[in-house]
Symmetry: C2
Subunit: 736 residues, 2 copies
């Protein structure tokens, strides 16, 4: 018999997927009455599809090998149910990865095809254009939230009915690794793709040939538009999907390892279900006409209302559920922790907007520095970027601290209750993924719609699509803050989960109290393995950041060569429109080099934890993960926000201009050129390296959770390692 909670946890996401399908069908059924609009749009859609399919194909062998390795690691380290555990763990991993891939593909399919529809609907005014692009965005948002909840709920229901606690949770854990592997791939390779295409197209197009940004004569222009979808749409979705899966699986794992009551184990699933239900309500706000003096402000208002409606409804539903199901003070602790998670979302979204939008002082100050020199722009933007990380870090710290205290006072005594409280706050934050990603995915749709309007000369709707694009840029920037905060919380939950899971398996047979005492006395911060591991973790973040940054330049260089070659050999600029660029070759080159450049940072993210684990034991691994989180989480904020601020400082000069001693400096002025230097530096900061740090801080955790017991067994630090290594070899030999 399925309890009501689990029935809902399956029904609601199915409804969510149905609504996503309905919205997709209604957007895709729009037939623009302008052929070139659809034609160019299809080039982008096909380019996006090609990139995703090549990514998936490239990752397939790695995925298969890892599935086998996970099977083997579980088979060798579990001594009871070893066959079943190994099979289920491999299944979890595969489903986590496939779910992420499917959500990304579905969302991309619709968003890439919706730009032409939005451009066309803009002829009917702001209202229809807004609801079209937002509907397209909801396909991504609803798909990812529904699939994440569905995968975790089904696995949870199935595993706990055939395995004892906490074994089912341990079999479930690899679902997070599957999701994080895909996310790492899409974020890094996609991040390199999007900015290499952007840089490459701009260097030859805007700088050398002097043609405008979205000019169809530029062979790199389609690759550039594909990149927007790959980065802001598929990349963001896979990242937040991963955090959502991680937080749900982590909350289940912790509740199971702590031996909490079933109702508490189910709690994270229930909160996610109720918030998804609220999302289905909240997103209905964005429809009908947009009226008012300032159309952009009115549209922005509608979108914000969708978010706030979702939060209010979710708070009411979760509150009712908590007070009906738990004693009063426990219900208060649950309700406040969930609310803290959602408030974190609001604070982070606002802090990001404050530091990256030109209605606030930071971006204006950076723009004013542009009257001095490009160097001043860089230093000012970097300085604000550093500052911008602080409110988000402190908000996360505050939410963790308060939910910890509430949890340990009212949910369960001591550390377990406290940690579970922080897990509820994290679930609260991540449950908003559906609505936040709907708002985010609306961004690339309106960005591409605006590009199509420029390419096809639809000057009459320019005002509408410009406004839509500007709003989209704001949400694209603020969602980055949300994704980073989510990744930070997810990583911390995983970190704690990792420690308990491994401790549970290393000190097997011991009681929870014994395990906690053992683990915590071993994990003292004075242990040199912790200190060394943490420093190596910071070094890993530096290495990863350095290689991803450098990759953009290298891949862009290849595209530059190709565009120059096409201009030279095909004389496109002279013979246009008789001679047309070979867009696909440009896409192909960027794809190839993005995938090639993924290798070193991607592999290091998976291999270094294993090497450190073998060299320093699982205690060194704990240090490594701690170092990666401490260095990676604020660095992601720094890079994303500095990039966003530089971008908007340039836009501020273009749109409003700066007045110094009565003289106005606008587009093409010297200060504008200085601001462009910052904008271009910010591109790989905010769209490649910054976002790639999110999956990095999660993947070091997930790879450790899955392989740590096996690593601990063969670790050089384990005095019992040699006989165990012999045992493992003999098992492998007997299997062959």
């Amino acid at each position: 018999m399925l309890p009501l909670e689990l029935v809902l946890a399956i029904v609601v996401p199915v409804v969510g997927l149905a609504l996503a399908g309905y919205n997709a069908a209604s957007v895709l059924s729009i037939k623009p009455g302008k052929k070139d609009l659809t034609d160019i749009n299809m080039l982008i859609a096909e380019g996006g599809k090609t990139f995703l399919m090549r990514e998936y194909k490239t990752i397939l062998p790695t995925g298969v090998i890892l599935t086998i390795l996970i099977w083997a690691a579980y088979y060798l380290t579990f001594h009871i149910h070893s066959g079943l555990m190994a099979g289920l763990a491999a299944l979890s991993f595969a489903l986590g990865a496939i779910g992420s891939a499917v959500a990304g593909y579905m969302g991309m399919y619709v968003t890439t095809r919706s730009a032409a529809k939005t451009a066309w609907m803009a002829k009917n005014g702001m209202g229809p254009a807004l609801s079209t692009s937002f509907k397209a965005g909801t396909v991504m948002g609803l798909s990812l939230a529904s699939i994440a909840l569905l995968v975790v709920s089904i696995l949870y229901w199935a595993y706990q009915s055939i395995l004892p606690t906490p074994l089912w949770a341990e079999a479930l854990a690899p679902v997070a690794f599957g999701a994080s592997l895909i996310s790492l791939f899409i974020r890094v390779a996609g991040g390199i793709y999007t900015k290499a295409a952007d840089w490459g197209a701009d260097i030859v197009g805007k700088v050398e040939a002097g043609i405008p940004e979205d000019d169809p004569r530029n062979p790199g222009v389609i690759a550039d538009n594909v990149g927007d979808n790959v980065g802001d749409c598929a990349g963001m979705a896979s990242d937040v999907y991963e955090s959502f899966v991680v937080v749900l699986a982590g909350a289940l794992l912790l509740a199971a390892v702590f031996g909490l009551a079933t109702r508490l184990i189910n709690l994270s699933i229930v909160i996610a279900t109720l918030t998804l239900l609220s999302t289905l309500v909240g997103i209905q706000v964005v429809r009908g006409e947009v009226r008012g003096k300032n159309l952009a402000a009115a549209a922005m208002g509608k979108l914000n209302t969708a978010l706030y409606t979702t939060i209010v409804v979710a708070a009411i539903l979760v509150g009712i559920y908590a007070f009906l199901s738990f004693p009063t003070m426990e219900a208060v602790a649950i309700f406040v922790s969930d609310l803290l998670g959602m408030i974190t979302a609001i604070v982070v979204l606002f802090a990001t907007e404050y530091f990256t939008h030109y209605t606030f002082p930071p971006v204006r100050n950076i723009a004013r520095q542009a009257t001095l020199s490009a160097s001043n722009v860089i230093v000012a933007g970097y300085s604000y970027g550093l500052l911008s990380a602080i409110p988000t870090v402190l908000m996360v710290v505050g939410a963790l601290g308060i939910s910890y205290i509430l949890g340990s006072m009212f949910i369960a005594p001591g550390i377990e209750g406290g940690i579970f409280g922080t897990a509820i706050a994290s679930v609260g934050l991540l449950s908003l993924a559906g609505v936040v990603i709907s708002l985010d995915s609306y961004g690339p749709v309106s960005d591409n719609a605006n590009g199509l309007v420029e390419m096809t000369g639809m000057e009459d709707v320019r005002e509408v699509t410009d406004a839509l694009d500007a709003i989209g840029n704001t949400f694209k920037a603020t969602t980055k803050g949300y994704a980073i905060a989510s990744a930070g919380l997810a990583a911390l939950i995983l970190f704690i989960g990792f420690i308990y899971e491994v401790a549970d398996r290393i000190y097997k047979g011991a009681s929870l109290i014994q395990i906690l005492t053992q683990a915590s006395s071993q994990l003292t911060i004075i242990d040199p393995r912790i200190i060394i591991g943490a420093l190596v973790g910071v070094a890993l973040v530096y290495f990863f950041s350095s290689t991803t940054l450098a990759s953009v330049g290298r891949a862009a260089g290849e595209l530059v060569e190709e565009i120059r070659r096409q201009f030279r050999e095909k004389k496109i600029l002279e013979l246009w429109p008789q001679e047309r660029p070979d867009y696909n070759r440009a896409i192909d080159i960027v794809t190839t080099h993005a995938l090639k450049n993924f290798l070193i940072p991607g592999i290091s993210a998976v291999i270094i934890p294993i090497i450190v684990g073998v060299a320093l034991g699982w205690i060194g691994l704990v240090g490594l993960i701690f170092g990666v989180i401490l260095a990676g989480f604020p660095r992601a904020l720094l890079m994303a926000n500095a990039g966003g601020a530089w971008d908007n400082a340039k836009k501020y000069i273009e749109i409003e201009g700066i007045v110094i001693n009565g003289q106005r400096f606008g587009k093409k002025s010297e200060p504008h050129k200085n601001a462009v230097v910052g904008d271009v530096v910010g591109d790989p900061f905010k769209d490649t390296t910054g976002p790639s740090l999110n999956p990095l801080i999660k993947v070091v955790n997930t790879v450790s959770i899955v392989f740590a017991p096996a690593i601990a067994a063969v670790s050089l630090m384990n005095p019992a390692a040699s006989p165990l290594i012999m045992h493992i070899i003999s098992v492998i030999v007997s299997l062959l």
Copy 2:
């Protein structure tokens, strides 16, 4: 009766100071036969003196208040010998600060006055010029190493003869806080000063008025030259002096708290003494004629030989001492740990040179990116900066790991022996301070000499001073790496020392084993106070970095206004040399604003640990310090090395040029302009924020060591806090 070790530890530094005095006298006795040379030099010397004296005057009230606070904190938390402990602790603090101030003043006095002497001696060739500027540098190097050793040795000898172990070590600990307070002040305020003067003078001089860098018509030119000495000379010296004092005091404290044998307690003093003796030998290498085809390479060779001679002699002396005084395997452990520390110095110096000098690929690659755009220069430099942190971090980690293993195997069993092993490695690294700072301080002397040659039109010696300046720049850059690695090791030693010292006082009366068990089981990395503290620590590093970076722009802006005003009102450019700039007003403005902008980052470095301690207890404070070290140490390397690389990418284009498709791009070309953008961004990176992180990571430790027991008593986390707070209030009332 003074044992031989301590007699030597007082005699050798006295000899060092005597040699410093002799070298100072011999350089200052040179009488340049060119009046304007001496006149301009005296302007710089006076400016430097004025800045230092105003710094010291500004810090005096803070110093007095802190002396009283330390006295009170010790008086209230020590229950035996409380009056004596309080008095000695206050004395230690004052002596630590005064020693740093005196060493900085003595060194600055000589180096600022030596530029004219060096320029004049350059008429006699490379040999005399090199030995003059290096002799001036040794005054700084020998003063700081000798004073550091002398202060610690005398206090150690005096305190341990009147107090039992480990009380004397606890009374000694504030010496490190005194040193770190002065260092924080000089690094931050001096760092802002040097780059604000540089930026301000360049923006109006080079960019707006189009006059050369060291043109005497620029009112900011003397401030700029003063800045070189303030930053590279006084700043670096106070920083390394602090690390040296910290490591010596930390090693004494750890040995005392661990209850090691007297011979082991003395060991760090002995190693420092023998290495200072070796330094007196090593620096004799730099004398006589410089011969060879390439004069610069020959001069560089001599300077490097001074370093290597010191290391070889020190290794021999320490080896002999160790094998004569300890059982064989213990001697091996001591010898290898000391050697590892010195090898760390070599590796770090080389790694820094590799990433910041244009004879190696990184800087050349950055320069090549300048052919694309300024943005490419920024991204490439930043990417290499990130990468450059890794070898130093890994070398420090390796040295720590190996010396830990050796120590725990052969010096004392378990954690104590291991930690003491790492302390020996740290002493090995820091003992080289004398020779390394001699090499570093030679840099600003030759830089200023070259500037004076330009200002006074001594074209005939330009070749010699150019070569000297180039070598000086290399040492200035590489010494930054040494200072950062030293700060990192010093901070880690302090971190461990802090934990044991506080644990010793909190669990008073317990045996060492009990304290260790108590402390380590409390300091588990899963404790939310550790995690929250660490995240706040990272946020503190970000805040500190952001405010110091932003300060440079603000202070430079003030200087820009002043230079523009002088140009406008005094018409210097038109009426020169009848109308002369008011250099002192420019110096005064930069000084005022550097000191003003010091306030926020400076105070936050001291106050935040206290706030976190009160809010989260001493466990939260442990987390905070860990976070600050993890974030600050690699960030210092990133910022210093990225800045150095950008600087030299520009110089590479100026000196060698880049050839693309047969076309050569040199000074004033488009790529050169792009490289200048990077160079200017790098200025506050490498000379303000990067170096300021060194005292930050040490000062959070030293302030915690001194105040932690008092903080723990009044902490909100301490259930016994309320009665204790009442007790403290009643003691204060009874004292009044």
